[in-house]
């Protein structure tokens, strides 16, 4: 990236306001909602309705916060939507929020050494932050519930006044915020300030149905093992889907299984069997699932071994349930 690509302070100060939601509306009108959903289905399945809820918020200029348990596709969803709408290149600016983020990390800062040497207008004098870079695009903030109050204030100012202050200079910034967050039961460190929360609409992603979950597992696992030349046995995906259903409704378990961990369990079971030159069995699946999920699942367990035992027991229940349903 040459020096010309970096923004100069004078350019930033001369920015014109952009109405991002109108740009989004134009894109949607041109592309058609059906095509948008078709492109979404190449990456994610079972989230059509959620995507339309997010889209409808964006069309009227509302910032969106997607809430849901771990590993269900929140971040992938907002990234994909931003890519499909493709307002600019790159289509979105992503920030992974953490509790030690400062306001200047978000807004940007002036490098004093360069400024003293070459003046404020040198491209390297000013280091833009995500809030400034996202002008006319989407800003994706991952795990927004981890922001501390200082960075929340900087974000709020950007959302409210569409201006960011950097060492006294006012820079115009217009963007649409797409945030992801975990539900309030998980400790989010800080709570979102009321004013910030008020500006966002909450779209929830919940665990998919057994059928949808099974289809997703089969599809993702196929993507993972296609280079091995093996096919995905459907009954195993069914067992996993039943298992995930049991765990997600379990009162003992606080953090349930993610789709990612399910996919990895199945694909590593298949890979293991492939290494030994045989077909994958339920025992492989059980071993891989329990080891993959031991890290993901959180709950009220006495010890790690108690947790592993519990997971193994639940797996057996899932197999029994699966076999019982097979008969009907």
């Amino acid at each position: 990236m040459g020096l010309d690509a970096l923004p100069r302070l004078t350019d930033l100060l001369r920015r014109q306001p952009i109405e991002v939601h109108k740009l989004v509306a134009e894109v949607v009108r041109r592309k058609n909602v059906a095509n948008v959903l078709k492109e979404l289905r190449k990456v994610l399945r079972g989230l059509d309705e959620v995507a339309l809820d997010v889209l409808s918020g964006l069309l009227v200029g509302r910032h969106v916060m997607v809430v849901g348990p771990v590993g269900l596709g929140k971040t992938t969803l907002v990234e994909t939507i931003a890519e499909i709408i493709n307002l600019a290149d790159p289509p979105y600016v992503e920030v992974a929020c953490h509790s030690h983020m400062t306001a200047s990390e978000l807004t940007g800062d002036i490098d004093i050494a360069v400024a003293l040497q070459s003046g404020l207008d040198h491209p390297l004098a000013y280091i833009p932050g995500p809030l400034v870079l996202a002008h006319g695009k989407f800003l994706v903030m991952d795990e927004i519930n981890r922001l501390n109050p200082y960075s929340q204030a900087a974000l709020l100012q950007a959302l409210q006044e569409h201006y960011v202050f950097i060492r006294g200079f006012r820079v115009r910034t217009d963007f649409l915020l797409l945030a992801t967050s975990n539900p309030s039961e998980y400790s989010g460190v800080y709570e979102l300030s009321e004013a910030l929360a008020d500006r966002m609409k909450v779209v929830e992603i919940t665990y998919p149905d057994r059928e949808v979950l099974k289809a997703i597992i089969v599809w993702k696992t196929e993507q993972a093992v296609e280079h091995l030349g093996v096919s995905v046995p459907e009954p195993m995906a069914d067992i996993l889907a039943t298992y995930a259903g049991l765990l997600s409704k379990d009162g003992n378990v606080e953090v349930g299984p993610s789709i990612r961990s399910m996919t990895y369990s199945l694909s590593s079971a298949i890979a293991r069997a492939w290494l030994q030159g045989r077909e994958p069995t339920v025992y492989d699946l059980k071993r891989e699932t329990v080891s993959n999920l031991a890290g993901v699942i959180r709950g009220d367990f006495q010890s790690d071994s108690a947790k592993t035992e519990y997971l193994a027991r639940k797996f057996d229940e899932a197999v029994v349930l699966h076999r019982r349903q097979q008969r009907f």
Partner: protein, 448 residues
């Protein structure tokens, strides 16, 4: 269309402001955003039903802005407000409101069922209960019956009301009939005597009741005095004494005949709190947990017939309600069996409100020994309040025992409640052991 949506949102706001649980009904910004979002969503939707769009998108936009006292109820409160605004959920009639508060009104004086019920009113009330299907705030049988009659009225009135409503409720799927005479036929063939301590570990008991109340019936063994009833003679001990005297050649006297004195077991007032939440609909071993529980309940009623206790039943899922207050088991056995056989399950679990309602039931009791038995298989949303209620019940002189079923129940909470309530905490693995557990809690009352 924008006019219509604004009207709906204005109504939502007024309902939220009326709701006592809502601290802040939402900012103007969020309502404006909700309105435009709903319009935009309807524009890009395909064939989706606009009513569900309005509710869903409205809740999404207002979620962060509305503040309520209990965060877990926020979604339900919002959805309820929207449904009412869309006139899909009729407001409960005034008479129902008064019945819930237990006040007597001109229409429903205490214990009296107003005869001139018009069909329209009855069906509207039942419809409003049926509209809660699918929500966590699902109704239960006690709620339905208490919409027409005072909660603490005589069990005969309740039976009469339920009999008249049976047909309508069955049509709406709000009734689950179980033939109690069949299951009772089996049990009358067997005797009741079973050991207190089962050999297997299907029941786990933690006893927090006071140590001097060890269950025993025998108070003393003494020698015969003329005038003692012959039924009280302990035949075994007397025969051993006489045989010994005969073998050693000594003469037999009055002192060899031993008489057993039993402590007078005063009749207790027992209130059962039965969990009728959705988890009870699960099938285990051929029939649903609720059916097994109902059968254990019939057996328990029969058992109490023998001891002459008074029994009351409180059903709880989302809203707890008294199905029947404390009534003599001997006089009203048939009525109790009939009401119990019509219980159905569904909805969320709220233990604290069941304890509160049971507290009100005990206010009408003047017995020396009062016991509350809580039967649940799941977790509750308000454990802190449940413990508070248990404490209040203990102060009233009620002993609180808990029976937890299966592995999903909150064992520590139930133990805590039993500890504070000075009762027993029983944990059983399946509903089939429920009658053993119930009998154990009854026996723990002996000597108190």
């Amino acid at each position: 269309m924008i006019e219509l949506i604004s009207e709906i949102l204005a109504r939502v706001r007024s309902f939220l402001s009326e709701n006592p649980h809502v601290i802040f009904p939402g900012s103007v910004r969020s309502y404006l955003a909700a309105a435009s979002d709903i319009v935009s969503r309807i524009a890009i939707a395909g064939k989706e039903d606009p009513v569900s769009i309005i509710v869903r998108i409205g809740v999404q936009n207002l979620y962060n802005s509305v503040k309520v006292d209990d965060e877990r109820m926020k979604r339900e409160i919002l959805e309820e407000a929207f449904l009412r605004a869309l006139e899909l959920k009729p407001k409960r009639s005034e008479a129902e409101e008064q019945n819930r508060k237990g006040r007597s009104s001109l229409l429903f004086p205490q214990g009296h069922v107003a005869e001139p019920y018009d069909e329209d009113y009855v069906s509207r009330v039942i419809q409003s209960h049926a509209s809660s299907v699918g929500y966590a705030s699902f109704t239960n049988l006690a709620n339905i019956v208490n919409s027409f009659v005072d909660p603490f009225s005589n069990i005969r009135d309740k039976v009469r009301v339920l009999k008249s409503l049976e047909a309508q409720l069955a049509r709406l799927g709000l009734l689950e009939v179980d033939d109690y005479s069949e299951s009772l036929k089996h049990l009358r063939a067997k005797r009741f005597v079973r050991s207190l301590h089962p050999a297997d570990d299907s029941i786990r008991i933690s006893d927090f009741s006071y140590p001097q109340n060890y269950p025993t019936l025998i108070k003393s063994l003494r020698s015969y005095k003329p005038g003692d009833p012959t039924s009280r003679v302990d035949l075994f001990k007397s025969s051993m004494n006489i045989t010994r005297k005969n073998l050693t050649g000594k003469p037999v006297s009055d002192a060899d005949i031993t008489v057993v004195e039993y402590s007078q077991t005063s009749s207790a007032d027992i209130v059962l709190c039965l969990d009728v939440s959705g988890s009870m609909r699960e099938v285990s071993g051929g029939s649903s947990k609720l059916t097994v529980a109902k059968r254990s309940l019939y057996r328990f009623v029969e058992y109490l017939y023998a001891t002459g206790d008074r029994l009351g039943l409180v059903l709880f899922n989302f809203r707890a309600d008294v199905l029947w207050g404390l009534h003599d088991t001997r006089k009203f056995r048939e009525h109790m069996l009939y009401l119990a056989s019509r219980i159905f399950a569904g909805g969320g679990t709220n233990i604290a409100s069941s304890l509160k309602v049971s507290g009100e039931t005990f206010r009408r009791s003047r017995s020396q020994s009062k016991q509350l038995v809580l039967i649940t298989d799941g977790r509750t949303m308000n454990s802190r309040e449940a413990i508070e209620e248990a404490r209040k019940l203990r102060q009233q002189g009620v002993r609180v025992s808990t029976i937890g079923v299966g592995s999903d129940c909150d064992k520590s909470l139930l133990k805590e409640i039993a500890k504070i309530g000075g009762g027993v905490s029983v944990h059983i693995n399946s509903m089939a052991d429920l009658d053993r557990a119930l009998r154990h809690t009854r026996l723990s009352l002996l000597g108190s």
